[in-house]
Subunit: 221 residues, 2 copies
Amino acid sequence: MTQTPQDTDLKTDRSRLRRAHERGAYDRDTLYGVLDAMPLGHIGYQIDGRPSVLPTLQWREGDHLYWHGSSASRALRAMEGAEVCITVTLLDGYVLARSAFHHSVNFRSAMVFGRAEKVTDPAAKQARLKAMTEGLFPGRWERLRPITETEIKATAVLRIPIEEASAKIRSGAPKDDEADYDLPIWAGVVPMSLQLQSAEPDPANMQGLKIPDHLRHIQIG
Amino acid sequence: MTQTPQDTDLKTDRSRLRRAHERGAYDRDTLYGVLDAMPLGHIGYQIDGRPSVLPTLQWREGDHLYWHGSSASRALRAMEGAEVCITVTLLDGYVLARSAFHHSVNFRSAMVFGRAEKVTDPAAKQARLKAMTEGLFPGRWERLRPITETEIKATAVLRIPIEEASAKIRSGAPKDDEADYDLPIWAGVVPMSLQLQSAEPDPANMQGLKIPDHLRHIQIG
């Protein structure tokens, strides 16, 4: 899926993130655009001496990437203080070429590498969890039953600085071998995107409750 | 995002894949359903002594999971013969509870662990690449400019057996603290799904080419 991506490295010396045929860009805006567009991240870490990949929600505040989970989570405890890699990917389309070889996908992807650090101060943890909630559902935090000390204690919040990172993006039409353009083979792109559907109220909602305005404008992708 | 998932382990002795509060299922059908629904996978592997996560297309044939890339790819060469973890995740919805703590997401996720093995026989590689293409776009392979020996040589195909694996699924309404159900706070689910849009023909297509039938029925999710 990386036939002709544009490659965006924050650290140009990080050559392992780039392949020879990829073009470099190197701006934070591109990287942050990918991270902010997709809350789902996949965290690579080592546990029991083996690689593992945990799907989790991630969010960005300034130049840090955050995620959270249960304080009892073995995965999160294994990450603390350890090297991790968080990859965030959006699939944007199938790219159908005239040969199997040049088939590809359009996508946006960001990778961030770093040593995971635990947020320990309860007030800081609460602020981070609020930022996460507000990032997804602006205006919701203040309307919720307030978070408790026990809940904050039961939640682990981890982060890495966004220092060593790269983005890869592929967009646009297929790139075929020159001679293949003369073949009567349909080529093109089938775009795809993650779409939100209409909200489904919890059947246990208090009678008469209407969907609040702050949920009418949420977006993803 | 794993507050109340259903957990499906193929190997019940793999306790690190399960958390105490998760229910177990243990069937291959559930796992294969997740793997087959989402071509995007995230592969965790070790490179330069650090974890890394590569987004890539994956496909299943029988009890093996496959992926491919450039034979020159440093990532794929690092995976060969090494332990990897492939995680495949579909986000199915935001779960909005009455407290921040019980917010969650509906999702389906599969993890497969194993030692990556390279497919070396050219005929076998070609058969795997055909299976990948046909899996995504049934009927397309035979209509393409035939694959060449050089292209097969330039493509690395890797696989792992699906022996050590687990699935996690969360679906349905939020689960709130009993007392919170009496609060006038809207709770519910905002479903989401990856949707294909109308195909966009390559402007370089031969004049008069129409989108073929085999691309009218492709699906994802």
